[in-house]
Amino acid sequence: MDAINVDINHLKKGEVSLGTSIMAVTFKDGVILGADSRTTTGTYIANRVTDKLTQIQDKIWCCRSGSAADTQAVADIVKYHLQMYKANNNGKSPSTKIAASIFQELCYNNKDNLSAGIICAGYDEKNGGEVYTIPLGGSLHQHEYAISGSGSVFIYGYCKKNYKPNMTKDETVNFIKTSLSQAIKWDGSSGGVIRMIVLTKSGIERLLFLPDEYVNA
């Protein structure tokens, strides 16, 4: 009888994994990205203060999960393409959709060689906050909020029940804090601190939450 086997070691020998719990949530004024800060090599915690929220353009950021090397490489390439777009379009900023589309192209065409689960989120004046999720196979999905990473499986129910459209900034921060707190609690590959990036008309805000603050959220 076949058992259900979870291969947590699908990375190459020595390769580092962003075990991970990541999410991005649109709200009234824009979008907030959130992530834990644990990087593991097998079961050893190689970095307990990782920054998994990466800037691609001014107000387009991404959450990275899977292989640390793969996601860093892909993000760097997308960043390059968007800089070229801006230069060749008279300084016009690319939309979040364009960034997500480039992520998709890279992840789909190199699907056999990559282990990357990425959430691309951004804010612009015209479209407000947008969230695009690009899972392992390289498909593209737009949602009001997205969760990903090994820890996300524990919070599908909680997020479905507690997400509301057009929340305030504080409501959204608490929603992400409570969700990631649970993901971190149950998933051995997630942990450390909770980092968030708030993207709105007013600008870019970085938030940090330590265990004492989120453990009982």
């Binding site: 050893y44 915690i45 149950w186």
Partner: protein
């Protein structure tokens, strides 16, 4: 199928002090990355002899019960509790009896000899090789981290209160660098007249 000794996760350590010993473990039981219980203690005792057991959880419980039977029979026949040195040899032979179908456990023995008062600790591999140590022994999924912590923090002849601090820091910081250990910790400090069991406040990630 994964390696049996790292499916459930967990860690333990024992140290020798001045006329005392300490033994400690974390409280996590998981199913690979999923945490299942934050209440799974891995230190047991038979009279004044303490046994720490890491590894496959089902084997931890079975081996604990197997030794409970053996030490009860010992008590009935010898009319006294088993001493740590004797228990250690019992652990070694019991594990080697299963040489080609082993229990996937990493045992640690700690205690004071009731007659001489001498502190005693030792560790074993899963097939019964005894590691008699004068200072500290480690076991579980965070052994590499524990070796580093113990080697740097340990000094001989620590008083019970200081030994408690040292073993606690060694366990906590090693477990915090291991994805499969943590979710609470418990420390026993054993002296001639009393045994103090303390639960530690630890990271819950």
């Amino acid at each position: 199928m994964s390696d049996p000794s790292s499916i459930n996760g967990g860690t333990a350590v024992a140290m020798v002090g001045k006329d005392c010993v300490a033994i400690a473990c974390d409280m996590r039981l998981g199913s690979q990355s999923l945490g299942v219980s934050n209440n799974f203690e891995k230190v047991f005792n038979y009279g004044h002899v303490y046994l720490g057991l890491t590894g496959l959880a089902t084997d931890v419980l079975t081996v604990y019960e197997d030794f409970r039977m053996k030490t009860n029979l010992y008590k009935m026949s010898e009319d006294r509790d088993i001493e740590p040195e004797s228990f250690a040899n019992l652990v070694s032979s019991t594990l080697y009896q299963r040489r080609f179908g082993p229990w996937f456990v990493g045992p640690l023995v700690a205690g004071l000899n009731s007659k001489t008062g001498k502190p005693f600790i030792c560790g074993f591999d899963f097939i019964g090789c005894i590691d008699f140590a004068k200072d500290f022994v480690v076991s579980g999924t965070a052994t590499d981290q524990l070796y580093g912590m113990c080697e740097s923090l340990y000094e001989p002849n620590l008083e019970p209160e200081d030994l408690f601090e040292t073993i606690s820091q060694a366990l906590l910081n090693a477990a915090d660098r291991d994805a499969l250990s943590g979710w609470g910790a418990v420390v026993y400090v054993i002296t001639k007249d009393k045994v103090v069991k303390r639960y530690l406040k630890s990271r819950q990630d």
